[in-house]
């Protein structure tokens, strides 16, 4: 029997495949198409305390092997989420990662308190990295002290796994991983999207109403893998890697680089039934490589020189 389960601190999930926040609605939208209990987890759309309408459309633009989004964190707010969505997620036996956003530390703390009392929440993913909203989020994610403060504040009010989600729009992502670990994070997830833009040259206007948006999809995978690799050297806590995963080989690439689990976002838009394809691919790899436990592969990148360097580079 192949064991695909992975452990994130106190939380063990049946396989490393988690639906990425903002790419899977509140999970319930997919409940008829996908058996949510077969996923490693569902990270729901970023939630604020209050409802938000988000940005005016157009909100996405396709780009080479990727897409930009500027949704602006439209959402129903934490209270309606608990009332209207959480019960079905519970019933479907989904492992729920709630992605929370605030404009102040108090908001994150308040959200953490409320969700800790709600039944059926398995982990808190702190979105301190959304590039698409003016106030909050990213302002914490781009400052080491900001990151440390948010994480430790939330840490103090919940026993749920606390997982800050890091932005790639920084010089040294590993230092943010360290700050998170020191502040008591149980794991980190990365990457959120890259701040980017696209212009309609005929009208000379931005293609997004919000002017800038976040780049996701296969295009960013090589950068995201490098960042996961850097964080793996920097911290001991589990890493949830993401950025452009579309095939089982991509999952394995992130895990070999140092990820304990992964999230899949954009590729789920292209293929909502991707989950079985990925699981089959992982099982096939394990069989071919005679592995019994998938988690063994995490951080096994072999960097020993292939042949003695013949000349100084």
């Amino acid at each position: 029997m192949l064991d695909l389960s992975v452990t994130l601190g106190t939380l063990t999930i049946p396989n490393p495949l988690i639906a990425a926040s903002g790419c899977f609605g509140y999970g319930v939208e997919y409940a008829d198409a996908v058996d949510l209990s077969t996923l490693g987890g569902v990270a729901v759309k970023g939630l604020f305390l209050a409802e938000r309408e988000g940005h005016a459309p157009p909100r996405i633009v396709e780009t080479p092997a990727g897409m930009l989004n500027a949704i602006g964190l439209q959402g129903i707010g934490v209270h309606r989420f608990i009332r209207e969505k959480l019960p079905e997620l519970r019933e479907r036996r989904a492992i729920v990662f709630v992605n929370i956003c605030g404009t102040t530390i108090d908001e994150y703390v308040e959200l953490a308190r409320i969700l800790s009392d709600a039944e059926g929440v398995h982990a808190l993913e702190l979105n301190i990295s959304c590039p698409n909203i003016k106030a909050g989020g990213i302002t914490f994610g781009c400052s080491l002290t900001g990151t440390h403060s948010v994480v430790s504040a939330v840490r103090n009010v919940t026993t749920l796994p606390v997982i800050p989600k890091l932005t790639p729009n920084v010089t040294d992502v590993a230092s943010f991983a360290r700050a998170s670990e020191e502040a008591g994070a149980d794991a980190i997830s990365l990457v959120n999207t890259f701040l980017a833009m696209a212009i309609d040259v005929e009208t000379r206007r931005p293609k997004l109403t919000n002017i800038v948006g976040g780049l996701s999809g296969p295009a960013i995978r090589p950068i995201a893998v490098r960042m996961v690799y850097e964080c793996r050297q920097a911290v001991k806590i589990p890493i949830i890697g993401m950025g452009g995963i579309a095939h089982a080989d991509d999952v394995l690439e992130f895990m070999i680089a140092g990820a304990d689990a992964v999230q899949v976002g954009t590729a789920n838009f292209v293929d909502p039934f991707i989950w079985n394809r990925l699981l089959e691919g992982l099982r096939d790899y394990m069989t071919r490589h005679k592995m019994l436990r998938l988690s063994e592969i995490t951080g096994t990148l072999d960097t020993t020189a292939r042949h003695t360097a013949w000349i100084s580079s």
């Binding site: 903002g22 790419c23 899977f24 609605g25 939208e29 997919y30 008829d32 198409a33 759309k45 309408e53 988000g54 005016a56 459309p57 157009p58 909100r59 996405i60 396709e62 080479p64 092997a65 990727g66 897409m67 989004n69 949704i71 439209q74 109403t209 999809g217 296969p218 579309a246 954009t266 789920n268 838009f269 292209v270 293929d271 909502p272 039934f273």
Partner: protein, 274 residues
């Protein structure tokens, strides 16, 4: 529940330099399809382009026994993906996800159903016309385009027994001007007792004009909107339109699951990108 099938291209009939009708083998989708629903098509095998494209289900294909075997798509080339579909050859396979979205609700007699189509906006009306006639509901199509050559597949509706009014901006066929010209005339002649339901699909300004006409004449109107769609399943929040809820409060509403068909009175037109 939508299914995703690797659909064989049975035929790709070019109607003009920019229009083609793509026939796809997809029994599961065909048999579940309801009027005005759509599919998400992958226009290429690889990542260029990356995302799927939304297309109305144009026709439901059936075998001699009448069993659904596939669908057609009424494709207008306007960019990368639609150009790839225009060029696709039979034998190719395309990932096809559907059926998706909130359908039209086909009126029952004695109501009359008026369908108003602009250009490629004709796409969702074949399935609606069939549903109407199956119910014995009288159906009328108002179909507008730039020139006579841009009016395609009118015969499908005529054969179904739909009353058809055409309009062309250059007057080369039917009424001279926008599709609203014949529509307005017919609306004006309606008796107060008659129960007419309007459905419209086409360019945003045209849908807006029709929605206004409908409301001034006090006729219910459904619109089928075209928003950019990342997923088609409610996962990405890319496809929102600003629509009023029961209380009249405007909210960004996902057109892939609460639409693409909306009651026209819900839509805040000024907020729709043109």
């Amino acid at each position: 529940m939508p299914v995703d099938v690797e659909a064989a291209v049975l035929a790709n009939t070019r109607l003009s330099d920019d229009y083609s009708v793509l026939a796809l083998a997809a029994p599961a989708i065909a048999s579940a399809a309801r009027p005005g629903q759509f599919v998400m098509l992958k226009t290429s095998r690889g990542m260029d382009p990356l995302l799927r494209r939304p297309f109305s289900i144009f026709e439901v294909l059936r075998d001699e026994g009448g069993a659904p075997t596939g669908i057609t798509v009424f494709n207008k080339r306007i960019g990368k993906g639609t150009s790839l579909l225009y060029d696709v050859e039979p034998g190719t396979h395309l990932q096809c996800l559907g059926p998706l979205g909130r359908p039209f609700d086909a009126a029952d007699p004695p109501a009359h159903a008026w369908m108003v189509a602009g250009g490629v906006g004709l796409a969702p009306f074949v399935t609606l016309a069939e549903a109407l006639l199956a119910r014995g509901t009288q159906a009328t199509l108002f179909y507008g385009a730039r020139r006579a050559e841009d009016l395609h597949r009118v015969e499908i509706f005529e054969q179904l027994g739909v009353r058809v009014f055409c309009a062309t901006e250059d007057g080369s066929r039917g009424a001279h001007g926008r599709v609203t010209v014949p529509l307005q005339q017919e609306l004006a002649q309606l008796g107060p007792s008659s129960d007419v339901r309007i459905s419209v699909c086409g360019p945003t300004p045209m849908m807006r004009a029709v929605a206004n006409l409908a409301s001034t004449h006090g006729r219910p109107c459904e619109v089928s909107l075209e928003q950019v769609m990342g997923c088609g399943l409610g996962g990405c929040y890319s496809c929102v339109v600003l629509a009023r809820d029961e209380t009249g409060a405007p909210h960004h509403t996902r057109s892939c699951i609460e639409g693409p068909v909306f009651d026209a009175t819900r839509i805040i037109w000024d907020a729709l990108a043109h």
